[in-house]
Symmetry: C2
Subunit: 106 residues, 2 copies
Amino acid sequence: MKKFTNVTADSVANIYFDGKVVSHAVYAEDGSKKTLGVIFPGDFRFDTEAAEIMEISAGSCEIVIDGTDTKKTVSAGEAFNVDANSGFTIAVKEGVCQYICSYIKG
Amino acid sequence: MKKFTNVTADSVANIYFDGKVVSHAVYAEDGSKKTLGVIFPGDFRFDTEAAEIMEISAGSCEIVIDGTDTKKTVSAGEAFNVDANSGFTIAVKEGVCQYICSYIKG
């Protein structure tokens, strides 16, 4: 399992979609932000402000990134990128999918 | 909101009770562990190994600590202690309760 050292962790989680998505934010010394998230079964849409790298750390999901119509399965150990000011849909069919979202400063 | 600086964060969350309780672990430089948790509505039981300080950071819950029969409501900003090798029940009636659990080395 990946561990992030020398970070500052927010104690209160972000809760989305009535608890179907939960994430805790951590900040590196350079101020860059990552969220460590958990996605329960369902279909969700996220908009991006900054560009994002989404690494799947457990389970799997099906994504469609805005501007494409390609449904792609992404599993633990794999990642996908989303442009700034864009978005993506993400579906978890079963179990729990976990991710590490890195926000890329423009 | 409390923030924990200079910690190491585990990227993968602990998931209990079919996702009703989710927590991410962070470790201070001295190795001491805290978990940042989210509890969805339900009734749950936790056993302790090390003694624990449970700070409620959002929402509220009802607890009964082993060896007592006193049901106590604990809300955001309040905390309760549980001895090592003991346990407690915790119930969340509505909304989401969040906690910071500090594990106290013996």
